[in-house]
Amino acid sequence: MDAISTAVTLAWPLLFNPTQFGNGSGYRQSTATSVIYEGRESLPLEAMELEALSVEGHSAALDWMLLAKDALPNATPLTSEERSSINEFFWSHFK
């Protein structure tokens, strides 16, 4: 973990106050990615901290896409035949 990542990770619990968003329930369920963006929107951070979060948010998003690709390496969209099939099945619920 690089210095910025470490700093952001360690600083996060101090910077983020979930009660700023409604009842604050469920924040422990968020990913760090979404948490970083929320923090960037609403917290009075110093310029240095903002820059760190911005860099971190960007790389985290890319890391996340990488993880998604690694976790499902064989993922492909439905073929046209498969799309027809699942959509026909879906619409059959309305008959």
Binding site: S30, W64, P73, N74, P77, S85, F90, F94
Partner: protein
């Protein structure tokens, strides 16, 4: 080293203490029994929660609204679910995995009388393979869920068929106890992985956009 073996690089986006469990569970694929649990007891509103008998609406090819109740998966971020942040809820319908495969089997045999045994075997093999691919979560538009509630053979979340519904109906569903499942912690990460794979996977290199200013 397999792609999911080195998890240290993801420590910046997933709390470090969750990484071993996520790595272990991803290695269990196609066993997805770790995705879902009973509705979370303490937190009433979570991204990925499954609600039964929830109203949905879709426009058909003639532009006509078609409405029906489905079991649905809540797509909104948990942070957007509190009262003062929610006017509409975005949901994806869920259908029965086994019923879909049965439907597809009938569809494959439709208007095909007098098939030879080898042709029937080919259809059955194709169906089996299609079922395996769906259960592996290898189709980007479809999230396979392991058995839960009335879906005793698993279920399919149709991520290409999302719809928006007034939040009031969501509150009604919560009040009436229509939450039937929540994602586990590692299951939730997989939900995000699946959403990323569907909505934000890398484009083919031939999809070139303008560079902008």
């Amino acid at each position: 080293m397999s792609p999911v073996e080195d998890f240290s690089r993801f420590a910046t986006i997933i709390p470090e203490e969750h990484l071993p469990a996520l790595a272990n569970n991803l290695r269990r694929i196609p066993d997805f029994s770790w995705l879902l649990d009973l509705p979370h007891a303490e937190i009433e509103r979570l991204q990925g929660d499954v609600l039964s008998n929830f109203p949905t609406v879709f426009l058909d090819e003639g532009g006509e609204p078609r409405s029906r109740e489905f079991t649905v998966l809540v797509l909104n971020n948990t942070c957007d679910l509190p009262d003062d942040r929610l006017d509409f809820i975005t949901t994806a319908p869920i259908v029965d995995f086994n019923k879909y495969l049965e439907f597809e089997r009938e569809r494959q045999y439709r208007d095909k009388n007098g098939l030879a045994d080898w042709e029937k075997r080919r259809i059955e093999d194709r169906l089996q393979e299609y079922g395996r691919v769906l259960r592996n979560n290898d189709k980007t538009e479809i999230l396979y869920l392991p058995p839960f509630s009335d879906f005793t053979h698993g279920a399919l979340v149709l991520l290409h068929l999302v719809c928006s519904v007034s939040a009031k109906l969501y509150y009604d569903a919560l009040r009436q106890g229509r939450r039937v499942a929540s994602f586990t912690q590692t299951g939730f990460y997989f939900l995000l992985i699946k959403l990323t794979t569907h909505f934000a996977r890398a484009k083919a290199s031939e999809v070139a956009r303008a560079n902008g200013a």
